[in-house]
């Protein structure tokens, strides 16, 4: 066995030195010289490429810059990892569970990592395992309310969050977050503040109660991750789109800019979303982030879809009663004003080139007929007279001054806010919608305009996708589940996530490979569910506090993309949003394989 191992190392090093002319391979070991498998090794350029950022720290409209690309690979079972050599100065960061991050600029044949102390190890656990031990005094519904309202911007049990605070300090945070857009019911503030203090304190005193995170597994050495930092610490790279022109179009939700990233060379071009000259910051919602130093969200670029007919990109500007159309060839925007509806959210385009999107606040679905250049709005049913009254009052509410407008007090059911959220078009043409607070699904038949509502038996249906067999895949946010709905039988199947207390935001289906990819925002992961075997693979991401809201798949190559959309971005590791791609490595005898 020993002989084999040495032989394999020799083969690896030979492959590294001879197989590709410019390749750099090295071995990662612990202090005892033992090989460390599944070590995440990230290579970044030492110098950030010069960039034109003359527009308030961003590239001016139409200007192209070069991103400082980071490449991450994992060691195989022999502790070996290989990178293509590079002419630029680079630095390597090695990260492994239970070991202290190690940095170096000139790797030799071997990189030695030092083990964490027990205290450091527990402190390094991701948010989800800490969160799993908060039971909110046994009140599981209260915990779900907390998760629904407090876990959609950032991680909840990161070291900053689990630090000791007084009850008053927790209340101050809760009230501040509600002013930013959280909807935690008033009646729950005091209890949650007290429980957060008590239970984090209890965990700090008894850290041995915190379960270990899922161990990194051998499949990691078969992939690489590429990251392109775009925007700055005040950006929020929300949804994005793989476009057939080869670019990835990303929306900066806070700065009203679109980044077109070329994954072949890391160049990106910025397009500034236009707004009316008399538009107000924050649009009809008003500026909820008054105290933020940089905020330019007149539109609130949210979600993307492209037309298979002409390649034009349709974008939901959440703060406007409008739909944006961007022609990537002419680089021109067209604004389609809407007759009503509030908060254009997730968007898809059907086979007839009709544009479908949810209107999250007015509980509607909009259809934009490109041929007729006309909108059709579908009112989704309300859950009672109070909700009906609130929704009908929205035009009046949003007509009033944002500073002084009446705001309905939130309750646990989100009364008045059923919030149609995710949307997708099924192969059979059906439009599927998930309502986050109402815990139901809507199916719209575009032929008849019939709307069918289906109770969702779990909490927090956020985003959904339909697979090639017309099955609807939904993430149940606060219930930590992946759920499949089979329309023909009306059957729901639930699948526990492979990491504890994950709070899944979004998902996508690789129809070709029959894999469902799920965002793992509390655990710094992407999660891949193989539909055939009903088994999971977990992909740890290279930055802590990596919060993603969208997944896109290049079905040709199997590459999977997501963006780091933590809010605020500066709290994410590195402080800059990134576009991330996971790519399968070629299965050769050299790097990336597990012998």
């Amino acid at each position: 066995m020993k002989y084999l191992t040495k032989l394999q190392i020799l083969c690896f090093l030979l492959a590294a030195s001879a197989g590709t002319v410019h390749a750099l391979g090295f071995k990662v070991v612990n202090a005892a010289g033992e090989a460390l498998p599944q070590v995440m090794v990230s290579r970044s350029p030492v110098n950030t490429p010069e960039a034109n950022l003359a527009d308030n720290g961003y590239a001016p409209n139409g200007v192209t810059n070069q991103a400082a690309t980071t490449l991450t690979r994992f060691t195989n079972t022999l502790g070996l990892v290989e990178f293509d050599d590079t002419v630029e100065a680079v630095t390597y960061r090695a990260r492994a569970q239970g070991y202290i991050d190690t940095y170096l600029t000139e790797p030799g044949d071997t990189l030695v990592m030092k083990k964490m102390t027990r205290e450091q190890y527990i402190a390094s656990f991701p948010s989800n395992v800490w969160l799993s031990k908060l039971d909110f005094g046994g009140d599981i519904e209260l915990k779900k309310t907390f998760q629904l309202n407090c876990a959609f911007c950032h991680q909840q049990a990161s070291p900053s969050m689990r630090a000791e605070r007084t009850v008053e300090q927790w209340l101050s945070i809760i009230e501040r977050m509600n002013s930013y857009g959280a909807r935690l019911p008033d009646d729950d503030h005091q209890r949650i503040a007290e429980l957060l203090q008590q239970e984090y304190r209890q965990l700090r005193t008894n850290p041995q109660q915190v379960p270990e995170p899922r161990a990194w597994e051998t499949h990691l050495s078969t992939i690489e991750m590429t990251e392109w930092p775009v925007g700055d610490s005040f950006s929020q790279m929300h949804d994005f789109l793989l476009h057939p022109d080869g670019h990835v179009y990303i929306g900066d939700n806070l700065q009203d800019r679109i980044y077109a990233v070329d994954p072949t060379n890391g160049e990106y071009t910025v397009f500034k979303v236009p707004h009316d000259t008399d538009a107000k910051l924050g649009g009809f919602l008003g500026n909820r982030f008054k105290t933020f130093p940089k905020m330019n969200n007149y539109s609130g670029v949210h979600s993307f879809a492209y037309s298979k007919k002409d390649g034009n990109i349709f974008i939901t500007p959440s703060m406007q009663q409008a739909l944006l159309e961007f022609n990537p060839r002419s680089r021109e925007f067209t604004v389609h004003k809407m007759p009503g509806g509030f908060y254009p959210h997730t968007i898809r385009i059907d086979q007839q080139d009709r544009v479908w999107f949810t209107l999250a606040l007015s509980s509607q679905v909009a259809m934009f007929d490109r041929e007729k250049q006309a909108f059709k709005l579908y009112d989704l049913p309300t859950r009672g007279i109070k909700e009906w009254m609130i929704i009908k009052a929205l035009p009046l509410i949003f007509w009033t001054d944002p500073e002084n407008r009446p705001t309905p007090a939130p309750d646990r059911d989100g009364t008045g806010l059923p919030m149609p959220y995710g949307i997708d078009v099924a192969p059979d043409g059906s439009i599927w919608v998930a309502r986050l607070y109402a815990n139901d699904l809507a199916r719209i038949d575009p032929k008849t305009d019939e709307i069918t509502m289906i109770d969702f038996p779990f909490g927090g249906p956020r985003r959904l996708r339909v697979d090639a067999e017309n099955n609807v895949w939904i993430v149940a946010f606060q219930d930590s589940l992946l759920v499949k709905y089979e329309p023909e039988s009306g059957h729901f199947s639930k699948y526990s996530l492979p990491v504890v207390n994950e709070i899944p935001y979004s998902l996508n289906v690789d129809k070709k490979r029959r894999v469902v990819w799920v965002n793992g925002n509390q655990s710094d992961t992407l999660l891949a569910f193989d539909i055939a075997t009903e088994s999971w693979k977990v992909y740890p991401l290279p930055r802590q506090r990596f919060f993603s809201r969208d997944v896109e798949i290049d079905e040709e190559t199997g590459a999977v993309y997501t963006t780091n959309s933590h809010f605020p971005t500066w709290q994410s590791e590195g402080g800059v949003p990134t576009l991330l791609r996971i790519t399968p490595l070629p299965q050769t005898a050299g790097a990336g394989t597990d012998p």
């Binding site: 900053s160 630090a163 000791e164 605070r165 300090q169 700090r204 610490s233 105290t291 130093p293």
Partner: protein
């Protein structure tokens, strides 16, 4: 030294915590070398403190001597009580560095020494205390066997005989060591205010540097001198390696662990306070606690609590040394209080944190070329003493229009919480450079691990202004803003000036809800806050003085002390009150109105069977509420249950 220890049993035991046979004294600025601000004196108790009365009042004579110059002074001195062998005098310094010895029972002056300092420059006059040492290399009974050291405003260290106040020949030149040739700096640019620390025949002294006005200010070099000769033994430049900046000086009080031969330096910000593009990186050892080998000055360990400071978050308080007892384990520990309201606890021998320190992401600077730290350290416990956010919804005002005006102001501020860098847009500074805690530090309740600390809870605002946009006649050079002022300082050598002031309503009241000054009890072992109460009444702060107290807390400077009688004594506030609190509950048990504000830390001792509590009351130039030269002594009336 052993003999001295026997005589001073109270203070040579581990930081005053052990039971003593002799009367409790106060031989060091902070009560002991570890700055615990704690006394075993227990004659005055929660039960009888209501009877506390003035025992005597001594006036230094500074008002008569210096007159209007007092307006640019603050009285911050805490007296020390010398041991019997050294004459058992009370000794303190006035803002002009006059050293005065008094009879501890009557307050009558025994001797005084005037170093006749150079009073040029704009730096406000202050002196926090003197130090005492018994010089073993001088024969018993000889002159200057017992020595008092004072570090002066004009950068001299003076040694005088504790018995009679005469200069000690053989120490420097005629008893004086000149630390800083005056030709090197403008008058007042470098000065001293803290009491030097002394142990093992070594004096260690820091400096105060005016760090606003230049990108590159004088170095904040700490110097160690021989107590006998004044010979320079070693120097330590906290900003070593960074030639483009300056300061990072130690203006606050240091502590010494004599047994382990360690001296602990609370270092301040690098220059200038609010701009750092020319000083890239973390700027070690600025904004740190640095443990040096007392004999060599070598760094044993350090911890930097602010990286690349852009907020003037100096280490303001004397490091407190104590025994950490938890789960059957005893660790020699150190508490670091920071202006930003964070409390760090370390093993003082190794620097290992006793509460996990996390990395908290910090918002980036919007100033071109400024690369502030992506994260700043924060202990996982105890909780911060200040909630550093202030949202428009939290605006405060007596009248609704006033509250709305404040909300409007707050809504226009940049505010991402603690460590939001200043930009060209007005930014919330909460806490501002006043703290949080400041140089008054905290007091430990015996060996309990309970800390009492007074804090400021006031929002400030600030912004950077391109100096090129300011007319020449508007370019100002001034120190910290006083009450109601907005300060504007040209940071020479940088492209910017900085403007800072309090966030106030049109009526001049803070825009944040009270209390604006607090007394907080922290359980260091459990990492929790036990209680907090307002500190100070605002009844004298408005345009009209009210006849009753309004306990909304006031800005405060100066510290408090705890006693075995279950009491915590503190003045510090802008209401001329000297108060005693129940140290277990925060209930106010007694107060006395002084003629002026007392911005010094009190002290206590027992003498001839009677416990005295002393406080210097002379006002503070930043408060602009009058000045004086009073030293008040309080005791229980003779014949009471003392």
């Amino acid at each position: 030294m052993k003999k001295a220890c026997l005589a001073l049993l109270a203070t040579c035991t581990p930081f005053g915590q052990a039971a003593v046979a002799t009367e409790p004294g106060w031989t060091y600025y902070g009560g002991n070398q570890g700055g615990t601000h704690y006394s075993e004196a227990a004659q005055i108790t929660q039960g009888n403190v209501g009877e506390l009365a003035v025992a005597w009042v001594s006036r230094s004579g500074d008002v008569a001597t210096y007159g209007a110059a007092m307006e640019n002074s603050s009285t911050q001195s805490t007296p020390i009580l010398l041991p019997p062998d050294a004459g058992q005098s009370l000794v303190y310094c006035t803002p002009f560095n006059r050293v005065i010895a008094l009879d501890p029972g009557t307050g009558k002056q025994r001797w005084s020494y005037d170093p006749e300092i150079d009073r040029r420059g704009e730096r406000a006059f202050r002196c926090r205390g003197v130090s005492y040492a018994e010089e073993q290399r001088v024969a018993a009974g000889s002159a200057c066997r017992h020595r008092i050291f004072v570090a002066t405003q004009d950068r001299r260290v003076v040694a005088v005989d504790a018995i009679n106040g005469k200069l000690c020949d053989g120490f420097g030149a005629g008893g004086i060591v000149n630390l800083e040739p005056s030709a090197n700096h403008a008058p007042g640019e470098v000065s001293s205010s803290a009491a030097p620390v002394v142990a093992n025949g070594i004096i260690v002294t820091g400096s105060t540097v005016v760090d606003f006005v230049h990108a590159k200010t004088p170095r904040g070099t700490v110097k160690a001198l021989d107590t006998l000769t004044g010979k320079l033994l070693w120097e330590f430049d906290p900003l070593m390696g960074n030639e483009d900046s300056g300061s990072a000086n130690v203006w606050s009080q240091m502590s010494i662990d004599e047994a382990h031969k360690l001296v602990y330096l609370p270092t301040s910000a690098p220059s200038p306070d609010y701009y750092g593009a020319h000083r890239p990186g973390n700027n070690l050892y600025a904004n740190s606690i640095v443990a040096l080998d007392l004999e060599s000055g070598a760094v044993r360990w350090h911890f930097q609590h602010v990286r690349h400071d852009l907020w003037d978050y100096d280490s303001p308080a004397q490091p407190i040394l104590f025994k950490w007892r938890k789960n059957g384990e005893t660790v020699p520990a150190l508490v670091l209080l920071t202006k930003q309201g964070l409390i760090f606890v370390f093993n003082r021998l190794t620097g290992e944190p006793l509460w996990e320190i996390t990395e908290r992401p910090a918002p980036p600077s919007l100033i071109a070329g400024e690369a502030n730290a992506a994260t700043q350290p924060r202990p996982i416990a105890p909780p911060p003493l200040i909630d550093a956010f202030l949202m428009p919804e939290q605006a405060w005002g007596i009248a609704s229009w006033e509250k709305m005006a404040c909300a409007d102001q707050i809504a226009k501020l940049n505010n991402l919480g603690l460590f939001t860098p200043l930009s060209e847009h007005l930014t919330l500074m909460y806490p501002g450079s006043l703290g949080g805690p400041n140089w008054g530090g905290g007091a430990l309740l015996g060996g309990s691990g309970k800390l009492l600390v007074n804090i400021n809870n006031l929002p400030f605002t600030g912004k950077l202004i391109r100096t090129s946009q300011i007319a020449d006649d508007k370019k100002i050079k001034r120190d910290h803003p006083g009450a109601g002022q907005r300060m504007q300082v040209t940071m020479q050598g940088t492209p910017y000036s900085v403007e800072i002031g309090a966030l106030q309503s049109p009526m001049g009241l803070p825009c944040s809800p009270p209390p604006w000054g607090k007394l907080v009890a922290v359980d260091l072992i459990n990492g929790t806050i036990d209680w907090q109460v307002p500190l100070g009444s605002v009844h004298e702060m408005g345009p009209v003085k009210l006849p009753f107290q309004v306990n909304w807390g006031t800005p405060n400077l100066g510290g408090g002390i705890a006693t075995a009688g279950g009491l915590f004594f503190i003045a510090a506030t802008m209401d001329r009150q000297f108060r005693a609190f129940d140290s277990t509950s925060g209930e106010e048990l007694w107060r006395y109105q002084l003629p002026v504000d007392a911005t010094a830390t009190p002290m206590t001792y027992s003498y001839e069977g009677r416990q005295y509590v002393l406080i210097n009351a002379g006002g503070h130039h930043m408060f602009k509420r009058g000045y004086g030269d009073f030293l008040y002594a309080f005791a229980l009336p003779r014949g009471s249950d003392q």
